[in-house]
Amino acid sequence: MNDGAAKALLTVDHLTMRFGGLVAIDDVSFVANDTQITAIIGPNGAGKTTVFNCLTGFYAPTVGRLALDARHGMFLLERMDDFRITQRARVARTFQNIRLFPAMSVLENLVVAQHNRLMRASGYTIAGLLGFGSYRRAERDAVERARYWLDQVRLTDRADINAGNLPYGAQRRLEIARAMCTDPVLLCLDEPAAGLNPRETAELNELLLFVRNDHKIGILLIEHDMRVVMGISDHIVVLDYGRKISDGTPEAVRTDPAVIRAYLGEEEDEELPPEVAADLHLDGDGT
């Protein structure tokens, strides 16, 4: 748990997303605090990734306000283009199915993430073409920053191989490092633990706690793995069929009858202890 006086970083108000007749998200409101880890959980098809896509500009929400109140300013994300959300509002994201640049080296992946800073330093290419020293310095800084994050995700010795040749777990870590290289104030992770083994999951928890504590940024997390969600979240939002059904601390959510009902079905909610309820969905959906 973080200190009690947390400041709201992202305020989602009445977010609704319709695809034709299908309502993917129905009037969802929640708050993600600065320097806290907020997890969004829910059964498959609950609309978690759609929330992310609205947040990062890949979808324009039908209704709702997404306000980011960061140290560097106030942004209404629903009005911004996807790339400007990263560039100006500094919201970074990773993807459920990893999206690296497979034919580029690990280091290049991290340097591409610092594109906007380097573009400015290279005088929008012109100073860079002429070989000004200022650009070379900026590039050295970019490599240093990349090296820092490579050290954090333990990929330094594999910096020069192609990202596509990394094992799966390393690719997940690299994607987080790449998102961090954009220098975000809010990091959105879409199922970062998917496909990781228990040891890698424990390392992921440590990495996320390190990012929260040392870099003082907010993390928004979609995750099915309860070892991650219950282990590190400060705050959990539960979605089901596009609606928010619960919102609170891990302890509160764990014992919320509405959550247990969503995961396990109507009848047997009273009999099961909450730990079991939270873990059970790992074996498949409880419908």
Binding site: R99, M104, V112, L129, A179, T182
Partner: protein, 444 residues
């Protein structure tokens, strides 16, 4: 191919030779050969008084079938006897790519020395310099297109449009305003870049096949406009009497106009028509090398890395705050600009241009150079251009079979090296190298 156990250890067992099988295979081959040759070789049309006559050549057919049957029989026996030399096939292409990765610089250097010294080599005449000029023009076009296709991954089938825009810009400006080549060249490049952006806007959202179709259409639109805008472009008659370039104001003429000194008299050498040819060759060489230097440099800048990232995954690029619109448009504009430079060179070299020169086949050849060379590989473009353009010139005697050989070569390369001759990508940055150099700095 039946590799029998006995042959695996390298000692062919003669007793196990399958003569019946070989004979069977030979017979089948013979039937196929007969079927093919009976029509193609067996009959010949001849001119006879009163019309065409048919002549039969059964002896030729028999000979062909005989050769096939005997050859196939022994070939099959050989396959049975042959010990497999190595279980792992050595991929020559892979070897070539690694070789180029290590020694590419030296190979480039040798190419460069050869290219610069070419006109002075003994036995090199006007014809050879002309071919070399053509090859280097295509190398430059290939390098220009490589920015769009190889780096940014935007499949452009209408690249010749920019070549045409450059050529016509140069031709029209130079003939109407009588400005010098060195003034018209950047203007032509700027016009072509403008057209690149013009094409870029509508296709920003398109990828792959759809993008290819639209760019193909764009190439045709430009050609048809050039053909029909008679008042400006003179339509199918083309633009003629395009001023030839001068050597910094010194024309290459035997008897220059009043008040001008010509190249040969200024340097006090005998007049020779090869001076102009050689000058044009060096001109395109310098332009091409400038294109190459620019590409190598820009690849290591953020914009170049963003192009490559865009080629790899556009959605990931957006999530990292890279503006896909401006990134793509820069790629189109810069690629088009080099196409425009090459176009103005083409116009000044030919002295005459018409829409005929800018058909789709030109785009296809340039794209083939980039793809066969290996997308994004600079030296690959050189090799492919020398093979495709130089090759077709060398085999000019083959006449119409030239295109057949061309097609066969393309198929062979695509089977042999589907990613291009020299598809090997070097990272633009290395951590290991940096560590060594920073260690050196610490030591001093």
């Amino acid at each position: 191919m039946a590799l029998q156990d006995g042959t695996l250890n390298g000692s062919p067992a003669k007793s196990r030779l399958d003569f019946v099988g070989a004979a069977k295979g030979a017979a089948i081959a013979g039937v196929v050969a007969f079927g093919l040759t009976v029509v193609m070789v067996g009959f010949k049309t001849v001119d006879r008084p009163g019309g065409l006559g048919l002549e039969t050549r059964w002896d030729w057919v028999a000979l062909a079938v005989g050769v096939v049957v005997v050859g196939r029989f022994f070939l099959q026996l050989y396959w049975q006897v042959r010990a497999p030399k190595r279980v792992v096939r050595v991929d020559f292409g892979e070897y070539l790519a690694t070789f180029m990765a290590h020694y590419g610089k030296y190979v480039m250097g040798i190419f460069l020395v050869l290219a610069v010294g070419m006109p002075f080599l003994p036995g090199v005449g006007r014809y050879h310099v002309d071919i070399a000029t053509l090859v280097v023009t295509y190398i430059m076009l290939g390098w220009g297109l490589n920015i769009v296709v190889g780096l940014a991954g935007l499949l452009d089938l209408g690249y010749v449009a920019f070549y045409a825009v450059g050529a016509y810009s140069y031709a029209l400006i130079a003939t109407y305003y009588d400005w010098s080549f060195w003034v018209c060249l950047p203007l032509a490049g700027a016009f072509a870049a403008f057209f690149g952006i013009l094409l870029g806007f509508p296709v920003l959202r398109l990828r792959g096949d759809y993008l290819a179709i639209v760019t193909l259409g764009f190439g045709e639109i430009i050609r048809i406009i050039l053909l029909n805008w008679y008042s400006l472009t003179n339509g199918p008659d083309g633009v003629s009497n395009i001023p030839r370039p001068s050597f910094f104001g010194l024309p290459f003429e035997r008897s220059p106009p009043e008040g001008l000194e010509s190249f040969h008299s200024f340097f006090g050498i005998e007049y020779s028509s090869i001076h102009r040819i050689a000058f044009l060759y060096y001109l395109i060489l310098v332009l091409a090398l400038a294109t190459n230097a620019f590409t190598i440099r820009i690849r290591k800048l953020p914009i170049g890395r963003a192009w490559e990232a865009l080629r790899e995954d556009e959605i990931a690029c957006r999530s990292l705050g890279i503006n896909p619109t401006s990134t793509k448009l820069t790629a189109f504009a810069i690629g088009a600009m080099f196409g425009g430079f090459a176009g103005s060179f083409f116009a000044t070299r030919q002295g005459f241009i018409s829409p005929e020169s800018f058909t789709f086949i030109e785009s296809a050849v340039i794209l083939a150079i980039v793809v066969l060379g290996g997308m994004g590989s600079q030296i690959g473009v050189v090799v492919a251009a020398v093979l495709l353009i130089g090759g077709t010139e060398v085999f000019r005697e083959l006449e119409e079979y030239r295109m057949l050989a061309f097609g066969a070569a393309m198929v062979a390369i695509m089977v042999w090296r589907p990613r291009g001759l020299l598809a090997h990508r070097e990272p633009t940055l290395r951590l290991a190298q940096r560590r060594r150099s920073s260690g050196d700095e610490d030591a001093t």
